[in-house]
């Protein structure tokens, strides 16, 4: 039983890293629907690097770096060129799908390195994720930079008029978001399931994206949501552990999405908005032009 929980929490961590990055992105007003693509790239880069050099650390570094660079690429299209953020994000995902399959196929198979040591069966990435949640919360709600980030996502014109460099803030956030997505991918290929296969994620990135909306852009709710989704996902792999024969894994796998959709419906109702205030960053997905 503990094994299942520990495994679920490790799965949660992968959602958590990626979604936390996306949350920072979105708080600054940039939507990156290509999250899955960033994770695929980050995971693949980490896997290849680790296998070639024999070092987990270098693998993680490669994942972080590539994720950050791709985040900046998305920023270039959506912030500098003011392109459509959804198109740019989808483009990243499609590119990653093809390119990682092409570049990674010679490496198909297990990593062949030792497992990353665990604490009482629990992956060390879970406590790291919790710490990152706390840090993100502090950053967003207790620092001047966080106020600037949130303002850039709510009303960039107001932020600019207050002397906040909106463009730089958004670039910072897409870079951070990209790095966290890369870290998430690397955690998948180096620790959670150290076997490379084409399109190894099969939707983890999209679950993470849904998770951000589920969390109403709050890191703590995100942590709870990630844990919940992690358990759901793990159950989808072995549903016979809990409810033998009730539902197939494919049905279980839709549960995170099935939960997210009604929540999205509820938080967009006028009732919710008047009662709890606007959860969604006002300027999310909208390019900002100065002046």
């Amino acid at each position: 039983m503990w094994e299942l929980v520990a495994r679920s929490l490790e799965a949660s961590t992968i959602f958590l890293f990626a979604a936390l990055g996306e949350l920072i992105d979105q708080r600054s007003g940039v939507l990156n629907v290509g999250l899955e693509g960033l994770m695929l790239f980050g995971g693949t880069a980490a896997f290849i690097t680790a296998q070639t050099t024999g070092s987990h650390a270098l693998g993680f570094l490669a994942g972080l770096t590539l994720g950050g660079l791709l985040g900046l690429g998305h920023g270039f299209f959506s912030i500098t060129l003011r392109g459509d953020q959804v198109v740019s994000g989808m483009g990243l995902w499609i590119l990653s799908f093809g390119l990682t399959t092409y570049l990674g196929s010679p490496y198909t198979g297990p990593l062949g390195l030792g497992r990353i040591p665990s604490l009482w069966g629990l992956s060390p990435f879970f406590p790291l994720g919790v710490a990152l949640v706390a840090i993100t919360w502090l950053l967003l709600f207790r620092t001047g930079l966080g106020l600037a980030i949130r303002s850039a996502g709510e009303n960039p014109a107001a932020a600019e008029a207050s002397g906040i460099p909106v463009t730089s803030i958004r670039f910072l956030c897409v870079a951070l978001g990209g790095m966290l997505a890369g870290l998430s991918g690397a955690t998948y290929t180096l620790s959670y399931n150290p076997v490379w296969n084409y399109n190894f994620l099969m939707g983890w990135g999209f679950v993470s994206l849904a998770l951000v909306f589920f969390s109403m852009w709050n890191p703590w709710i995100l942590l709870a949501g990630a844990s919940l989704f992690g358990i759901m996902w793990q159950l989808s792999l072995s549903p016979e552990l809990i409810l033998p024969g009730v539902l197939s894994r494919y049905v279980w796998r839709t549960v995170p999405f099935a939960i997210t959709i009604p929540i999205l419906c509820i938080i967009s109702t006028p009732w919710f908005r008047t009662r709890w205030g606007l959860a969604k960053p006002e300027a999310l997905g909208r390019p900002y032009a100065k002046g």
């Binding site: 207790r142 620092t143 001047g144 930079l145 966080g146 106020l147 600037a148 949130r150 303002s151 709510e154 009303n155 014109a157 107001a158 932020a159 600019e160 008029a161 207050s162 002397g163 906040i164 460099p165 006028p270 009732w271 908005r273 008047t274 205030g277 606007l278 006002e282 100065k290 002046g291």
Partner: protein, 516 residues
């Protein structure tokens, strides 16, 4: 109030030879502006005169193509608002630049150099409170901005600029969305800031009474050029108007024949919710005859939008009844109402009344696509629509490069003429005109008003919703001041004085009558 030094002293802030071009437009043409320390300097001009562009340059939001800025005779360059703020220049924009989901305190702290690293909102709160006490005004620091009134939001922006250490305060059309009492408070507050605290105020407006009331000196802009630079005490209102519009346009009451036709519209106890689900229109009743104009006067956000939308069929009525020709139309769709002769000119010219990326012809078709006269074998009759558009363009004097120009490339005035023409060419019997002249220059506004008057001569009843009291008083047969979703009264024009109506718009008189 004694004006500051009359002898030309060193200006605290000066713009010299500023030129700014936008694609196809020369927005500013070698503009010189000098502001003395400790004065209220008014920049007067019509819409499109270049006032806002000039202010955005002074605040670092835009860079001039030519010319330079001088602060205390030192040449300066502002690459962004950040630079301007660092030099003690604060700006309150025409549209609020506040994050409405954040608290007042967070908004004030945003971007302040002291918020580097961890936020210490507690000490910020104490400092802002102290500042407010010093200048003699308070705003609820813990409230979220969306909860505040427009007047309070303005004070938040002013307080924010002062907290940033602004010594020069630029206010762009600060009275645009305020009620008359709020305007009074604002102007008195600005005078105190200048007199007692040595703040310099640069006031941008197109409202003459404000210039006359508070400014020491005035610079008049027209079409991107400075046409006059005067001490307010030496300036006569008439001459300022002439400078501003370039020739003599006297504001006069429209002459209308007062023949009223048959009763057309009856509205009984009409109520409606706004988008937030709050009751915004609360039991409005009136009736209109053919050829009559009812002027609904009020500051935006008092239920006018909801009234117009309910009558046009775009918003369901929460309760009450609307009768047209005695027939209950409360639940009819917009299209059914169109067919019965209801014409609607929405306030949002580019968002609701037209589609920005559509051509003139397509925008005209928006009111005709359901008309069998413009459908041939199931397809839209393009040739017919072109002819109709041509007729509208000619009759209503719409200046456009071609019929296939996009609506977004028309100026506000020309687009409004097109919309007006499109609606009127269906000969509506009831015309709902919501802010029909808002943001238009004097000529276009006069044209729109004259056209409305013509429509009444043809027998149309007009519901005119406007913030401009002069417009209401010059066009209406009946005046209904609206405040918080209720009519204060329905007054015949002959008895409606600007003072009474203005007071009711601000909700004075209504509370006495025991209404909320």
């Amino acid at each position: 109030m004694s004006p500051p030094d009359l002898a030309p002293t060193e200006p605290i802030l000066a713009a010299r030879g500023i030129t700014k071009r936008f694609p196809g437009v020369l927005a500013l043409d070698h503009v010189d502006l000098e502001i003395q320390a400790g004065e209220i300097h008014a920049v007067l001009g019509q819409n499109g005169a270049g006032k806002t562009t000039l202010m955005n340059i002074l605040f670092g939001l835009l860079q001039p193509d030519e010319g330079a800025l001088y602060l205390r005779e030192q040449r300066i360059r502002f690459r962004s608002p950040h630079d301007a703020l660092a030099r003690g220049i604060g700006m309150v924009h025409q549209t609020r630049r506040l994050v409405s989901a954040h608290t007042v305190l967070e908004n004030i702290a945003l971007g302040h150099p002291r918020t580097r690293g961890f936020l210490n909102l507690r000490s910020t709160r104490l400092e802002v409170e102290a500042l407010g006490n010093r200048y003699g005004f308070t705003v609820p620091l813990g409230a979220r901005v969306w909860q505040l009134s427009e007047g309070e939001r303005q004070w938040v922006e002013i307080l924010k600029a002062l907290y940033r250490g602004a010594e020069i305060l630029i206010l762009d059309e600060p009275t645009a969305a305020l009620t008359p009492p709020e305007v009074k408070t604002l102007l008195a507050g600005l005078q105190t800031l200048v007199r007692d605290h040595g703040v310099t105020v640069l006031l941008v407006t197109h409202k003459l009474p404000i210039v006359m009331a508070v400014s020491h000196r005035v610079t008049v802009l027209r079409s991107g050029r400075v046409v006059a630079r005067l001490r307010t005490a030496d300036a006569a209102e008439e001459s300022l108007v002439q400078h501003m519009i370039g020739r003599d346009i006297a504001f006069r009451t429209m002459n209308r024949s007062a023949e009223m036709g048959r009763p057309l519209l009856q509205v009984e106890q009409l109520s409606a919710f706004n988008d937030k689900g709050l009751l915004a229109l609360r039991g409005v009743s009136f009736s209109l005859r053919e050829g009559e104009v009812l002027g609904v006067a009020g500051v935006t956000g008092n239920g006018q939008e909801e009234l117009a939308q309910v009558l046009a069929g775009l918003r369901p009525a929460a309760s009450g009844r609307v009768r047209l020709d005695g027939r209950d139309v409360t639940r009819l769709s917009p299209l059914q109402r169109w067919r019965m002769g209801v014409g609607y000119i929405p306030a949002e010219r580019i968002e609701v009344a037209s589609i920005a990326t559509f051509s003139l012809v397509e925008n005209t078709a928006l009111n005709y696509h359901f008309d069998p006269a413009f459908i041939r074998r199931g397809l839209l009759d393009n040739a017919g629509l072109e002819q109709l558009t041509q007729r509208i363009v000619t009759t209503y004097n719409v200046k456009a490069p071609s019929q296939y120009a996009r609506a977004q490339h028309l100026s506000g005035g020309n687009l409004q003429k097109l919309i007006l023409g499109r609606v009127l060419s269906r000969n509506p019997r009831l015309l709902i005109a919501h802010l029909p002249t808002q943001g238009l220059d004097v000529e276009a506004a006069a044209f729109v008003r004259a056209t409305l008057v013509e429509a009444t001569a043809e027998g149309a009843a007009v519901l005119l919703i406007s913030e401009d009291l002069d417009e209401i008083l010059s066009l209406s047969d009946w005046v209904a001041p609206i405040y918080e979703g209720r009519f204060g009264a329905i007054i015949p024009r002959a008895e409606a004085g600007a003072e009474t109506v203005g007071a009711m718009m601000a909700g004075v008189g209504m509370k006495e009558a025991g209404v909320r």
